[in-house]
């Protein structure tokens, strides 16, 4: 038998460790992925966002500077993506945003490429230069279609 005092200590430790595990799962693992500075909210309107998800990273030259906050449709039914990036960044107004894929089947993220203008983007501004997501299925579809056309041409020529 464990002494009553020692037992209480163990129970207390157990409760602490258990609550610590819950807190770790909730805050550190389940919380937002980007924990750097933020505060500058920008918007980009894409024709195609592919598999981009909220909380996907936003990078400049491979360095994480923020994350995707919201993905929705605007009045013209185009995909409007809100991103939250480091408020200390001085991004020029001709900054461009592109949706890229990490690896062939990897997760998608947004890369910002700063431009050369003097004026900088403020909170709530729209990034005008952008490049849509690369959708593998479409490319394959187009490839198959063009191959099919070539076959058809070949047969016609033979006839």
């Amino acid at each position: 038998m464990v002494e009553p005092r020692a037992r209480d200590l163990w129970v207390g430790l157990f409760l602490l460790i258990g609550c610590g595990a819950i807190a770790f799962l909730s805050v550190s693992v389940g919380g937002s992925t980007y924990r750097g500075p933020r505060g500058l909210e920008l918007f980009v309107t894409f024709d195609q966002v592919g598999g981009l998800k909220p909380r996907a990273p936003v990078v400049i030259g491979g360095v994480k500077v923020g994350q995707v906050k919201s993905i929705g449709l605007d009045e013209e039914l185009r995909a409007r993506v809100g991103i939250d990036v480091d408020g200390n960044l001085r991004l020029s107004t001709d900054t461009s945003a592109s949706i890229l894929t990490a690896g062939v089947l990897g997760d998608q993220y947004i890369e910002l490429t700063p431009g050369g203008e003097e004026a900088t983007l403020g909170p709530g501004d729209e990034i005008e230069f952008k490049q849509d997501a690369f959708v593998l299925e479409r490319l394959i579809g187009r490839l198959v279609q063009s191959l099919g056309n070539e076959d058809g041409k070949g047969k016609e020529e033979e006839e």
């Binding site: 464990v2 037992r7 209480d8 163990w10 129970v11 430790l13 157990f14 409760l15 460790i17 258990g18 609550c19 595990a21 819950i22 770790f24 799962l25 909730s26 550190s28 693992v29 389940g30 919380g31 992925t33 909380r55 996907a56 990490a102 690896g103 062939v104 089947l105 990897g106 997760d107």
Partner: protein, 260 residues
Amino acid sequence: MTAAAHVARLGGRGIAFVNELGRLAAFAAQVAAALATPPPRVRRCLDEIHDVGVLSLSVIGVSGLAVGMVLGLQGYNTLVRFGAEESLGTVVGLSLIRELGPVLSALLVTGRAASAAAAEIASMVVTEQLDGLRMMSIDPVHYVIAPKVLAFVISMPLLSSLFTVLGLAGGYLVGVLFLGVDGGGYVSSVQGSIDVYEDVVPSLVKSLIFGLLVAMIAAFRGFHAEPHSAGVAAATTSTVVVASVTTLIVDYFLTALMGV
């Protein structure tokens, strides 16, 4: 025996099963009433948390680590064929937090603590200790059963979370240190795929419900054990069997209900 007799026997079993369910529900109501009745048995409950939680720690810890390591190994071997070993964290993290954490810790606690609880209550029935309590006008449900049930409900989410955390560590150990997956990639794919409201909260709700079910089954089987030594054995065995099967079946419905 004629066919009619077989049908009648089946019917009799069905009626016995429904009777049992009804008695379990009545027992649950009794426990709930006891929990609401003052005085709260804090000291008894802490002692029970020691038996259920603290004594299960080593089992939960070692199993969690082992399960995480196996997931890391299996996940890596499958993912590497598609060149997607960066997603190892997603595979390990989601399987652990959504299913394996709550379910396996419930099964382990069933084997480690619920069987002991059922045997303890059943032998109290056999040795007429519960009748002794009644003689002193102490309600045995209030003094013995309710603190045990509460201890299971409190301990289960904590044990399940510990299991999950250690499983994640086990996956990291095998994936990153042994197999050479990028450490940052593992951590960020775990963080990127697990959400507080979609994964962590349903996982805790699951283990709360499992804790309640396992505790109720153990207490019910022990409390209604036949008053002889074979009755203790029967109560212990049926607790482990019924609680394990119930956990797995209820898990399906909880998953379907919560959509995780």
